[in-house]
Symmetry: C2
Subunit: 404 residues, 2 copies
Amino acid sequence: MPIYQATTSAPVNIACIKYWGKRDTKLILPTNSSLSVTLDQDHLRATTTSRADPSFEKDTLWLNGKEEVIADGGRLATCIREMKYLRSQLEQQKPDAPKLSTFPVHICSFNNFPTAAGLASSAAGFAALVASLAALYELPATPSELSRIARQGSGSACRSLFGGFVAWEMGSAPDGSDSLAIEIAPREHWPDIHALICVVSDDKKGTSSTSGMQRTVETSPLLQHRIGTVVPARMKAISDAIRARDFDTFASLTMQDSNQFHAVCLDTDPPIFYMNDVSRAIIAVITEYNRIALETTGKRKAAYTYDAGPNAVIYTPKENVREIVELIVRYFPQAEKFKDPFSLFGVAGVGEGKLPEGFNERVAKKFDVGAVKGLIHTRVGDGPRKLGDDEALLAASGLPKTLA
Amino acid sequence: MPIYQATTSAPVNIACIKYWGKRDTKLILPTNSSLSVTLDQDHLRATTTSRADPSFEKDTLWLNGKEEVIADGGRLATCIREMKYLRSQLEQQKPDAPKLSTFPVHICSFNNFPTAAGLASSAAGFAALVASLAALYELPATPSELSRIARQGSGSACRSLFGGFVAWEMGSAPDGSDSLAIEIAPREHWPDIHALICVVSDDKKGTSSTSGMQRTVETSPLLQHRIGTVVPARMKAISDAIRARDFDTFASLTMQDSNQFHAVCLDTDPPIFYMNDVSRAIIAVITEYNRIALETTGKRKAAYTYDAGPNAVIYTPKENVREIVELIVRYFPQAEKFKDPFSLFGVAGVGEGKLPEGFNERVAKKFDVGAVKGLIHTRVGDGPRKLGDDEALLAASGLPKTLA
């Protein structure tokens, strides 16, 4: 009997217009549309191997080497069931196709970045899960169709089904059929967009985004205005900016929307805080950096954005990355050498650099080593990739290679 | 020739419904109504002596022993001019009254709390200035009428013309004639309201409230919703809560409005931050304290509020102050012994106390000594007081006693 197996990887995405609030918590239908940049899988990715085999006892999933419970009616079960249903439809149309929809699956998934980094690992994870099952089942589904299923695993996962610049359209149908991701522009349209992730140390456990966003929906008087008025206008404006490769407008909207997302968290009762003093200092440094740029060129050079945690993601055209890394390292000295995937610095590593002329150094204090505990340099990337069997995570036995 | 002189003191007030945004920056007309609690002058006050004398060369003002410039068309000059105008009207009605309106004035003002404490010193200061000139000029003006003039010195100063619980009604007249303070309830109505001020250390200079609030008016999309919809409802609800002595509702609205004020600051472009990690930790501690209280009694026991800085003011009925001081000192150890004006603690001072049952200690970490650099315990207080000549700040020479 042949082995039915597929391996795919999927990217992380970081939103510029933030998703915060569900109108349907079961189907994961959002209260507003959102838009993100897909990051490069060369640096950050979730990889998943799925195998269907009638000899397997039950559907089983391992995440980073550890078996996860697939709870009845839970998000994992929903995604697997929906994918099997699509396969069963295909089997009805092609009676010769093997009845994979009736076989249990083994799924093995691995993130190449620490969960503790606070990056949106569930988005990449659910996108890789859905993409690998789609490959296993040889489904003709488009990324948008798959995004509808990934959305039910983790809302923002739907945006990881595309590369480049991706909108999650909130839709209006009660069954969620029109709440899915679409591509605003592929990476090739604007490959110059780089990202610097500042992993910020935090000594408190933040509110989970799932419970936090529902508390905001229930208690923030400002959220309704954001949903009804602000976001629709920003979605249009930032999509236009991306199409026009207008970084200044893109940056301005990205920062405003990050701040407004954290504003509605603060307007929640009791309030939710994700940013800390280090996050705020990074904002102060980037604000000053942009102030100088606006004064000299009339345009911003960088955009910070913060998800439900203290980490900053700084978007910038590639030409500025070197300057920004030097700035960040000046205020937030690093314990480890900067991993320099684009070879911006020589063997000497990141130096003191030169402050941009007129830069007011006193906008932030210099922090101790470890306040920013890591820097990751990446850029806009492509959508899920099909990988060869040599990259499969399951051994011949059907168990994770790490357990074999 | 007789000496024409008067000395008054005026209180600090801390808003529960926040003033943030002017619709007229010259007349200081706000974009929304606000409401505050007046604090007790036994603990925090500005004292001002005004003297009118034809031999004085010009209007002169000393603040905390230092001469201040009275700039033409500035806020000080406006208040002095308006008060002289009221005096001149009185002189027209009473031809026998001395023509004090034509004499230069010497004004000497002193705050009994450090400006660095970040308390609203300008509110108490302008209230004391206006009240002392009103006493000097023997004006029949009501506190509301005086509040209209104090408002032009510093918006929130208008609320320091009354004791107890005070609303600043935004008004609608373009000339500001109906933008003034009114008493919602005197201190005697609800004398049980105490306040614990936590003076928080900060290593960055914040945005001034004058420039900050205008940036919010110009750039925050959420502010309009706050102004138009949220605040009017809250003004009514909190006034009702005060009249009913309903602390739970009072606390809930006070905290929500503090958070919403900081939310619109964050929604400003570039964003404005006043609270820091210490401020957020105090919020976490009070939120947990209230969670326990809500679970056991269904009612909140404390309310935090933050103005344009990192300091917390915690309102609570007197019976809870001891417990809250112990809680705060547990997380934020103090360098100096707690000044205990209400003799809550014995000679041993503040002890470890007992955590309320079920209190989750891990809502905040324990900070180093100095994170909260001082605690001030006070309570709801009365309005401006006329003081005797023995408390005058000007010497017989007409110069500040501190300079004599």
